[in-house]
């Protein structure tokens, strides 16, 4: 189990990260520049937090109050860097062996061979990083991390440096690897889709502040904050004012909407996913008359951009997802925002 509770100030950026990861792959989700990499670097001991405590399976890695700050060498934290940070002058085999002590020993050679077989790198042994494909480079980096026998693995945007066709293959590979690793792993990403399949739980980092750890499903069904909603690719987000009796006023769209439950007072925004809005008639609840702005063909759906009739000039259009080919040709349509699909969001 990894317990992190740290603070660090960098110029006018403040990091305040607190979360706990069990023996699981925990996703750390956040937009770029939100402090994800900094958090990982603090855990690995590359950066020193100003305050706080980091504990791994009962071992204290950092504790500002007790004056503990283990050097990275003694933390047993495996770190997969965004660009892999392979040693360019060493072969793949030498890179992996660098993760182990006792240079040149029989044990080292045996374990290097084992790891290369496990990650299907036999053909790459004598090649240097620049001769390897992105996927191979990542496997070498992973083998090197495993060679050092870490207690936790930190993955810093592991798929961001790859082409999309490689991405999927590597995601499967990582998925399998993390499952067989059996210890804690932190997977940092800005893309929900990337971590959704491999991680059961997620912690959202917004401008340096971490949310509580939640189930992936919760992030989709009740993200709770504007940033979490954005990260879970909720496209329709607007500011609201409570209008009493379980109703909210949305000035940007120029409408008042009914909700299923009393509106939480701390929720300053409302979010509606584009796939949850449907086209209907003016008689229905939460019907919003709109003008069609644009129809975009998505991969396997059509995406409608609608301007609500009473919308403010500067308001972004409503995004509505409909099945491929189901986009109406009419100039005016009615969007229905089902009450049970309105997500209350705090800033």
């Amino acid at each position: 189990m990894l317990t992190v509770d740290i603070e660090k100030t960098y110029g006018n950026f403040h990091l305040r990260a607190a979360f706990q990861a069990e023996e699981e792959a925990l996703a750390l989700l956040g937009a770029s520049g939100c402090g994800k990499s900094l958090t990982l670097k603090c855990i690995a001991g590359i950066e020193r937090p100003d305050r706080g405590r980091i504990e791994l399976d009962g071992r204290v890695l950092f504790d500002s109050a007790a004056g503990v700050n283990l050097p990275p060498q003694r933390r047993r934290v495996g770190y997969l860097f965004q660009q892999y940070a392979l040693f360019p002058h060493m072969t793949a085999e030498q890179n992996i062996a660098a993760g182990m002590g006792r240079e040149g020993s029989r044990d080292q050679r045996r374990r290097t061979a084992e790891l290369m077989a496990r990650l299907r790198l036999e053909d790459c042994a004598g090649k240097r990083p620049r001769q390897l494909s992105g996927g191979q480079q990542q496997r070498v980096a992973l083998a090197r991390i495993l060679a050092a026998d870490p207690e936790v693995i930190l993955l810093d945007e592991p798929l961001s440096a790859l082409d999309s066709h490689l991405k999927w293959q590597l995601e499967l590979e990582l998925h399998r690897l993390l499952a067989s690793f059996g210890k804690t792993a932190l997977w940092v990403s800005h893309d929900l889709g990337e971590v959704f399949r491999s991680c059961r739980r997620v912690c959202v980092l917004d401008r340096g502040v971490s949310s509580s750890v939640m189930e992936m499903e919760t992030l989709l069904e009740a993200p709770g904050t504007v940033s979490a909603a954005r990260l879970s690719s909720c496209r329709n987000i607007a500011e609201v004012r409570p209008a009493g009796e379980g109703r909210i006023q949305v000035p940007a769209w120029g409408v008042t909407l009914g909700c299923t439950a009393p509106w939480r007072s701390e929720a300053t925004h409302v979010g509606v996913r584009s796939r949850h809005i449907r086209l209907g008639t003016a008689e229905e609840e939460n019907a919003v008359p709109c003008r069609m702005v644009q129809v975009l063909r998505d991969v396997d759906t059509d995406l409608l951009l609608l301007q609500p009739e009473g919308a403010r000039e500067d308001a972004p259009p409503l995004h509505v997802e409909v099945p491929r080919g189901a986009a109406p040709s009419a100039e005016r349509v009615t969007a229905v925002l089902p009450p049970e699909r309105l997500l209350p969001l705090a800033e």
């Binding site: 001991g45 940070a85 002058h89 660098a98």
Partner: protein
């Protein structure tokens, strides 16, 4: 033709290059890591000899090492050794004058070194000594090599500071550059021309060696991939 100046120039340049190699790398490594204020200050001090006229360096060295100066007197009393006007006195001059070339090239190499490589090695449990010799140095070898060659070439051609601190004694402190000046001054034009040719030949060979090394690195890059 007496080849002593060639022999003397080469040994002075080789010895000072050996000294500068370690001193330059050491200085570059610490300046690259230093906080900004210290960095700026040390950088000025270490680079100064590059822009000062060699005669000024010579003057300062004489003030420090001359037989009537504190350090010169001390060494004279303790070891009965005079620090100036011997063949190896020139090493002081060439070290000071050539040091900035090594220091600056090595510092550039260290500063462009990807810090994540060092961080990765640290998280793998590798000691900082291991990282320095097995990762940082090999990755920066091109810059370090270039700095070494430049420092050697500069040391070989040093004239101003050398002539002030080692003087010109044929067969004792004469170097190629001081010999050329003496020959020209005494109207021995033919011999002066020969030494000029020797000097040009050596410099050309050194520069060719640099180019060759660079080309080998470049063609090797596809395979060997330096940083």
């Amino acid at each position: 033709m007496d080849w002593y100046p060639l022999y003397n120039s080469l040994r002075i340049a080789l010895i000072s290059t050996a000294v500068i190699f370690f001193a330059g790398i050491f200085a570059a490594y610490y300046v690259a890591k230093a906080p900004r204020l210290v960095k700026g200050l040390l950088d000025v001090v270490f680079t100064l000899p590059l822009v000062l006229p060699p005669t000024v360096v010579g003057y300062l060295l004489l003030r420090l090492l001359g037989p009537t100066r504190p350090l010169g007197t001390l060494i004279l009393d303790l070891f009965d050794v005079k620090l100036v006007m011997t063949w190896w006195s020139a090493v002081f001059a060439t070290v000071v004058v050539s040091f900035p070339l090594m220091y600056r090239t090595a510092r550039g190499a260290f500063e462009s070194f990807d810090p994540d490589l060092a961080h990765a090695a640290q998280t793998l449990g590798r000691s900082n000594t291991w990282i320095f010799w097995r990762v940082r140095m090999p990755c920066c070898r091109q810059g370090i090599l270039a700095g070494t060659v430049l420092a050697f070439a500069r040391a070989l051609g040093e004239y101003g500071a050398t002539s002030m601190i080692a003087g010109y004694t044929p067969g004792r402190t004469a170097t190629i550059s001081t010999t050329v000046y003496q020959l020209w001054r005494t109207n021995n034009d033919a011999l002066a021309f020969r030494w000029v040719m020797v000097n040009i030949a050596i410099s050309a060979v050194v520069l060719m060696a640099v180019n060759l090394l660079e080309r080998r690195n470049r063609t090797g890059r596809k395979e060997a991939a330096p940083c």
